[in-house]
Amino acid sequence: MKVLNKKNIFTLIIIIAIYALVQLLLTTGTISSFYEITIATICINIILAVSLNLVTGFTGQFSLGHAGFMSIGAYAGALINMSMKSTSGFLAGILIGAIAAAIIGVLIGIPTLRLKGDYLAIATLGMAEIIRVVFLNMEITNGAAGLNGIPRFTNWTWLYLFTALTIVLINNFVRSSQGRACISIREDEIAAESMGINTTKYKVMAFAIGAAFAGVAGALYSSYFYFINPTMFGFQKSIDILVIVVFGGLGSITGSVIAAVLLAVITTMLQSFSSLRMIIYALLLVIIMLFRPQGLLGTKEVTDLFKFRRNEKVE
C-alpha cells in the first residue's frame, strides 16, 4: 500500500490531533454550546468553499449556483432521515444527497459549461433559482414553509469526519492527472484542448464532484439545524460561499479553509454590533480585495510555505 507513506501518515496524525483537541475543548466545556454552532458553520462552510474552489478556483468555471446543489443534499438528506430516523438513515441521506446533487450537476453542467465567464455565472445562477423554485412548489418538500423537525444526527464528530474527507479527496483530485487536466482548462482552454484534454469532460467532472460535496454539506446542514426552507439556499447563500473562496484564494484549498474559519470567527465576534455587522464585514472584504486581490493565499497552499528552502536557486 503506497498510500501509507510518511507524508500521508503525518497528515493523518495532524487530522486526528485537531479532532482530539477540539473534542477535548468541547468535553471540558472550554468551547461553550454557543460556539458549537460556529464550529458547525465553519465545517459546513469549509465543505462548501473547498468544493466550489474545485469548480471556480481550479477549473476556472465561474459558478453562482453552489447553493442550489447544497439544497438538493439538504432536502434529500432531510427527507430520507425523517423517514429513517437512525444513523444509517442519516448516512444514507448524505450519500443519496451527494449522488443526487452530482447527477443534477452533470445535467446542468453539460449545457451550461459551454458558456464562459459572465454568461456561465448567469446560467448557473438561473439553474440554482430553478432548483429553488422546484423545492418551493413541490408537495413533498412542503413548499415555502419548508421541512421541520428533521432529526439531529449531525454532531461534531460527523462534521469533522466529512470536512476532513472533503479536503483530502479534493486535494487528491487536484493533484492527480485528472486534476491537472482541470487546471489546464483554467490556464488556457484552447491550449488544453490542443494538448488532448477533453475539456467538456473535465469541466463536467469538476462540476459534478463540486456538486456532490455541496450536497454533503446540505445534508449535514439540515440534520444540524432541524429546519430548512427554500429561501435558505438562494442567491445570497451562493454569494456567501463565493466570498469565502475568493477571500482565501482561487485555487488554494488551505486558503478556503482559513477563510471559512476567519470569516465565521469575525461574524461571531461582530454579533454584538448587530447593526454595524454587515457594514464591517463588507468593508473588510473590500479592503482585502484592494490590497490582496488574489486572496489570502493566491493559488499557494499553506504547505508550500515549508518548501521554500528546497526550491531556492543554487548556482
Binding site: K2, S177, E187, I190, A191, S194, G196, I197
Partner: protein, 258 residues
C-alpha cells in the same frame, strides 16, 4: 506514403475567405514549410488541421495505421489523439504552472488510472504518477530543459518558452508536428538553437514536421519542400530553390513591400 492529404480545404469568416480550396500532401518523415505574406491564412490553415475551426468545406485525411481517415471536423483533443500536435504563433503555455506540469498535462491522454484511483490514491495512482514524472523529466532532459522543471513557465526566457511549447507538443506523442512561426521574435542565437532542436526532433523521434515561418532563410535552409499561401490560395509548392525563383511567389512577396 502520404501521411496527410488536404483537398480543397476552405474556410470563410463571413465575407472573408481566409483559406480557399487549398491542397497539400505530406509524406511520412518530410519536413515541409508553409510560407506566405501576413494575413495569407497560414494560421487559419493550422487551425483547420487541428480542429480549432471547422472547415467550411474540403477534406483532411490522415494516415492512421495504414488507413486514410477523414479528420476534418474532429474536435481538437481528438485530433491530438490521432497524432497531430501543434505550437501557437502567440505562445500559449500554461503560464502559471511549472515546466514539469506543462509537460505532464500534455501526457494526460497516456495516463492509465481512473477517477477512483485519483480520489483514493490507489497503488496504480502512485505507479502511474511515478512513470509520468519520469517520462516527463526524460523528455525535458533531451531538450535541455530539465534544470528548469520546477520553474513557472512564464519565468522562462522568451526563447525557452518557445522551446518548451515544442517539447510540450512532443509530449503528446505526435506523428505530425505543426509549428506556427517557432522562430518569431527569437534572436540569432536562439534561432540557431531552434534549428538544432527541429533537426533533433526529426532524427531522434522520426517525426514529420510542418512549419509556418516568416524567416525565409530558415525555411530555405531546413525545409525539403515548401508550400506558399497568398490570400488563402496555395499559389506554389516545390523544392526551396524552385520556390525562390517562382514568379508568382516573388510577386506575392514583392506586392507586400510595394
Amino acid at each position: 506514403m502520404s501521411l496527410l492529404t488536404v483537398e480543397k480545404l476552405t474556410k470563410s469568416f463571413g465575407g472573408l475567405t481566409a483559406v480557399s480550396n487549398a491542397n497539400m500532401h505530406i509524406d511520412k518523415g518530410e519536413l515541409v514549410g508553409l510560407i506566405g505574406p501576413n494575413g495569407a491564412g497560414k494560421t487559419t490553415f493550422f487551425n483547420l488541421l487541428t480542429g480549432v475551426y471547422e472547415p467550411t468545406s474540403g477534406s483532411i485525411k490522415l494516415d492512421i495505421d495504414g488507413e486514410q481517415t477523414e479528420i476534418a471536423g474532429f474536435k481538437p483533443n481528438n485530433v491530438t489523439k490521432v497524432g497531430l500536435a501543434r505550437t501557437f504563433q502567440n505562445i500559449r503555455l500554461f503560464k502559471d504552472l511549472s515546466v514539469l506540469d506543462n509537460i505532464r498535462i500534455a501526457m494526460h491522454q497516456n495516463i492509465d488510472y481512473r477517477l477512483p484511483s485519483a480520489l483514493f490514491r490507489s497503488n496504480k495512482y502512485y505507479e502511474e504518477e511515478e512513470r509520468l514524472r519520469k517520462e516527463a523529466e526524460e523528455l525535458l532532459d533531451i531538450f535541455d530543459l530539465s534544470h528548469k522543471k520546477d520553474e513557472m513557465a512564464k519565468n522562462l526566457p522568451y526563447g525557452e518558452q518557445r522551446h518548451l511549447e515544442i517539447v510540450r507538443a512532443m509530449a503528446t506523442k505526435p506523428v505530425l508536428l505543426l509549428l506556427d512561426e517557432p522562430a518569431a521574435g527569437m534572436n540569432p542565437n536562439e534561432t540557431v538553437h531552434l534549428t538544432k532542436t527541429i533537426a533533433k526532433i526529426r532524427d531522434e523521434f522520426d517525426l514529420t514536421v510542418l512549419l509556418i515561418e516568416h524567416d525565409m532563410s530558415l525555411v530555405m535552409k531546413i525545409c525539403e519542400r515548401v508550400y506558399v499561401l497568398d490570400y488563402g490560395t496555395m499559389i506554389a509548392s516545390g523544392k526551396p530553390e524552385e520556390i525562390k525563383n517562382n514568379k508568382r511567389v516573388i510577386e506575392a512577396y514583392l506586392g507586400e513591400d510595394v
